[in-house]
Amino acid sequence: MPHLTIQIATGGPILDVRIGVSQARAAALKNANQAVPNPIQIRGLIDTGASCTCVDPAVLSALGLAPTGVIPMLTPSTGQQAHHANVYDISLVLVHPNLTLTHQNIPVAEAQLAIQGIQALIGPDVLKLCLLVYDGQSGACTLAF
């Protein structure tokens, strides 16, 4: 099974992911004779504590995306009152030298993350296709897919 071994940094297990417009949006852009933006490689934190995958608004804006969904979201700063977060359809690729795990159409929530030095939280909707081993003693995390 192909796998990535990631050193666990201070901020947690961070890996490179490529974010682009969804396959469905790419087709619509082509039909409208518009250019399809190139995917952007960003740093994503594996976050088993998040219930969905999130991407920083600067990345979503750079891809020229418009929201196609809205979800209620609770964070430490919202207290007990959920706020509504925009949802965008994107493509997401976990980068591996020999093989890639690609989601062609996946919904992600918009979340301010850049201040933490990351641009995405990789949540369980992506991790459900992976085997994740967190080896705290050796300071490494293995993600197989």
Binding site: A24, C54, T68
Partner: protein
């Protein structure tokens, strides 16, 4: 908030959609276009029918599931 009209349409149509829990509703403006078993199918139909104009793909949930992100301290408010 983005897609305010579409979200309002979804909420008004929700009583009719109780038997389609777990499917995905495609909504454009005040119209419920259809329901789909998979997110990808609703999304593809949305782009096919409406191109780059706004539309909403919403998972049908009688009790709306709240997402949670413990890492996020500064949410993007719509």
């Amino acid at each position: 908030m983005a897609l305010e009209t579409e979200l309002s349409t979804y909420r008004s149509k929700l009583p009719e959609l109780h038997d389609q829990q777990g499917k995905f509703a495609l909504i454009h403006g005040n119209d419920l276009v259809g329901t789909f078993a998979a997110y990808e199918d609703a999304l593809a139909e949305g782009y096919k029918q409406f191109g780059l104009k706004p539309f909403l793909v919403q998972k049908i949930e009688v009790i709306e599931q709240v997402q949670f992100v413990s890492r996020l301290l500064d949410p993007c408010r719509t």
